[in-house]
């Protein structure tokens, strides 16, 4: 295919939320890339003002139906910093189990239903059922188990209700958690099968120079806290985050993008966590990855599916150890001291670092809020990817180019509801 070609997609499919893509290629060059966000805004930061600090977890969880718990966790941690609360170890552990459950649910959904069809040329997992029903079913069973984990701890999988600033509304019984282990061997088998299957997919292996940013604490594969680190030398506290990134406005898109000051676009999410914390993955996971010839460093966004499948298996194994380790706390939550102030917190949502910052008054009323979700951080990187890989697409037929372009966006598992409902937008 030579000459000029325009790819326009008015409704991106197999992504969360409403987005568009416009790509103009001419003679092998990418002339223009626009990843548009057509999702209507919900003004979350504005409507949080005047609400009480203890309402932030429940309200912000509504930003996303796929990763609500991530919002609960970042909001709780920010508010706990404000109130001077240090949650007991048992509470932290229980949060971690539930949050890993959300990783499993979100990743298994993406790997199985949204992303895998791309690598095999299908339009959906429904179409995969004839040839790959054992994979689709295994992936979904793992996803449902992740949902079950959240449900046991949180009351329900989407917008769970048992979490609060300081801990939980009630003590979660150990015997309830142990019931999750009743079909453990089958779940482990499914998660392992999914990872092994993903490792055999035809995944492009070209190398890109990318900055991967994630949390890292050196003790465990990061989820609830850590320093903000990258492969290009970033190593800062979460409270400094906003000073190190710069917001960029572009005339052609309706969403802000974030870049590292003085450098450029960056990637957050499973692939960044994987690359920055490979040493902390469970040995069983590393063994499988290495036995399939995949390295400890993933080198392009297509390989994010490997990171997701690896994190699914890792999370299953981690949850099992944590359930054995869990002992019921003496009290479900701890109270803090109400005072005026501002605090920020980052946790690792399934799609990457989720930043919350709140200012509250002395009576606990929220006066200012800022939320930076993973997808808005990835937007600049998505466009950069399209610019670089887009040149390759111009060698393909129109239909293939269209599919390829859409797949690049899907590599990032974008959560458009998140990106739009919680960022300051320009057009």
């Amino acid at each position: 295919m030579s000459g000029s070609i325009e790819v326009r997609i008015d409704y991106l499919t197999r992504v969360e939320g409403e987005g568009t893509l416009y790509l103009k290629l001419s003679d092998g060059n990418v002339e223009r890339v626009e990843v548009g966000i057509s999702e209507p805004t919900r003004f979350f930061e504005a409507l949080l003002r005047g609400r009480k600090y203890y309402e932030a977890p429940d309200i912000t969880s509504r930003i996303c139906g796929i990763c609500p718990l991530a919002y609960v966790m970042s909001a709780c941690r920010a508010m706990e910093k404000l109130l001077g609360i240090r949650v007991p170890d048992e509470v932290r552990l229980l949060r971690k189990i539930a949050y890993l459950g959300e990783w499993i649910s979100s990743h298994a959904l993406h790997v199985t239903l949204l992303h895998a069809p791309d690598f095999l040329g299908f339009n959906s997992a429904f179409d995969m059922m004839e040839k790959y029903s054992h994979i689709v079913k295994a992936g979904l069973r793992v996803k449902w188990w992740g949902d079950k984990v959240i449900e046991v701890i949180g009351g329900r999988a989407i917008h769970p209700i048992s979490f609060r600033v300081g801990g939980f509304y009630r003590i979660i019984k150990k015997e309830k958690l142990e019931k999750l282990l009743s079909n453990l061997e089958a779940i482990k088998k499914d998660a392992k099968l999914l990872l092994e299957w993903v490792l055999k997919l035809p995944i492009p292996g070209f190398k890109r120079d990318l900055e991967f940013i994630s949390l890292r604490n050196g003790k465990e594969y990061p989820i609830l806290e850590g320093r903000v680190v990258s492969n290009k030398g970033l190593d800062i506290d979460e409270s400094e985050f906003e000073r190190y990134i710069q917001v960029e406005q572009t005339p052609y898109s309706n969403s802000l993008r974030y870049r590292v000051k003085g450098r450029g676009s960056y990637i957050v999410g499973p692939i960044a966590r994987f690359n920055n914390n490979y040493d902390l993955l469970k040995d069983e996971v590393k063994d499988i990855i290495e036995s399939h010839g995949m390295g400890r460093r993933l080198i392009n966004s297509f390989q994010s599916i490997v990171a997701r499948a690896a994190e699914v298996y890792h999370a299953v194994l981690e949850i099992v150890s944590l359930i054995h380790e869990y002992s019921e706390p003496r009290q479900p939550y701890v109270e803090g001291e109400l005072r005026e102030g501002e605090a920020s917190a980052i946790t690792e949502a399934p799609r990457g670092m989720l930043y919350h910052r709140y200012r509250i008054n002395a009576d606990g009323t929220i006066s200012d809020a800022n939320i930076i979700p993973p997808t808005s951080q990835n937007l600049a990187a998505i466009e950069d990817d399209l610019k670089v890989i887009g040149a390759e697409l111009s060698k393909l037929s129109f239909e293939e180019a269209k599919r390829g372009a859409e797949q690049i966006i899907r590599n990032y598992d974008p959560c458009i509801s998140c990106s739009v409902h919680a960022i300051k937008i320009v057009k």
């Binding site: 805004t41 429940d58 509801s417 300051k424 320009v426």
Partner: protein
């Protein structure tokens, strides 16, 4: 038997209710034997616009564009089902309905003039006829499945009409309101969630919206007697289903400055 064609459309919302369609465990595969998802962009790329037997609509209407789309969707749908708090009551984004949307735009956006947003975030029924409403933030996956299975068998689906209290009692929970003095919207909220909040030791926050004939005034009076301020009572009702008619009417009479 010809498969029943299903479509899902998302308006302003979080995707959580649509996701419940695939969160129904192994029963999903049984469902797939009987239905065909003709339009389901969250899950598939080959979507077909045409006539749909059943259309599930998630989200509230908040932009001029969405008004056009929902009208078209209504024309294409034999049965239109609003799913979730956003589509049935406006959702959390309806909190803006009490203020000037321009102020919200200015707070969030550097260039507010580019944001296309209607003054109000509204339930679907404000614009088109809705055949059934499934409540909840999010909807219950098991209720959705039960609803669809009734519909597939040609029955008029039966949905709850009474309060969370009924489910809570059946579960044998100690009443959080009476025994522990925790403010709870259970007495006025539609059943369907399985009374999860009281079961987990907190008060219901009304995400399934008002039950039939809820009389929220009486509950607000009770909260006042318990020592809650008008502001606290306002925050309780003004959440995910605050824009539903009965809660909105109560909020308008609470006497707080807007």
């Amino acid at each position: 038997m010809k498969k029943v064609s299903i479509a899902t459309f998302k308006f302003t919302s979080c995707n959580g209710c649509q996701l419940q369609v695939v969160n129904v465990d192994e029963k999903l595969f049984e469902l797939l034997d009987n239905v065909e998802f003709k339009f389901f962009p969250l899950i598939k790329s080959d979507n077909i616009i045409g006539e749909f037997d059943v259309t599930l609509v998630e989200g509230s209407i908040t932009t001029p564009e969405e008004v056009k789309v929902i009208k078209k969707v209504r024309e294409l749908s034999k049965v239109l089902v609003a799913i979730g708090a956003c589509s049935t009551a406006g959702g959390i984004q309806a909190l803006r309905n009490w203020v000037k949307v321009d102020e919200f735009k200015r707070y969030v956006y550097p260039n507010p003039e580019w944001i296309k947003a209607l003054d109000k975030a509204s339930p679907i029924s404000d614009y088109v006829k809705v055949d059934y409403e499934l409540r909840g933030c999010p909807i219950s996956g098991s209720q959705l499945l039960y609803f669809l299975s009734q519909l597939l068998r040609g029955k008029g689906p039966i949905l709850p009409i009474d309060s969370v209290c009924m489910e809570c009692k059946r579960k044998g929970n100690l009443c959080v309101l009476v025994a522990k003095g925790i403010p709870c919207l259970g007495p006025v909220t539609m059943a369907g969630c399985g009374a999860i909040c009281p079961t987990y030791g907190r008060g219901c926050y009304g995400c399934f919206g008002p039950m039939r004939d809820p009389r929220p005034n009486a509950l607000a009076m009770r909260f006042k007697e318990m020592g809650l301020s008008i502001k606290d009572i306002e925050l309780l009702f003004k959440q995910f289903t605050g824009w539903s008619k009965p809660f909105k009417e109560l909020l308008n009479t609470l006497g707080v400055e807007k």
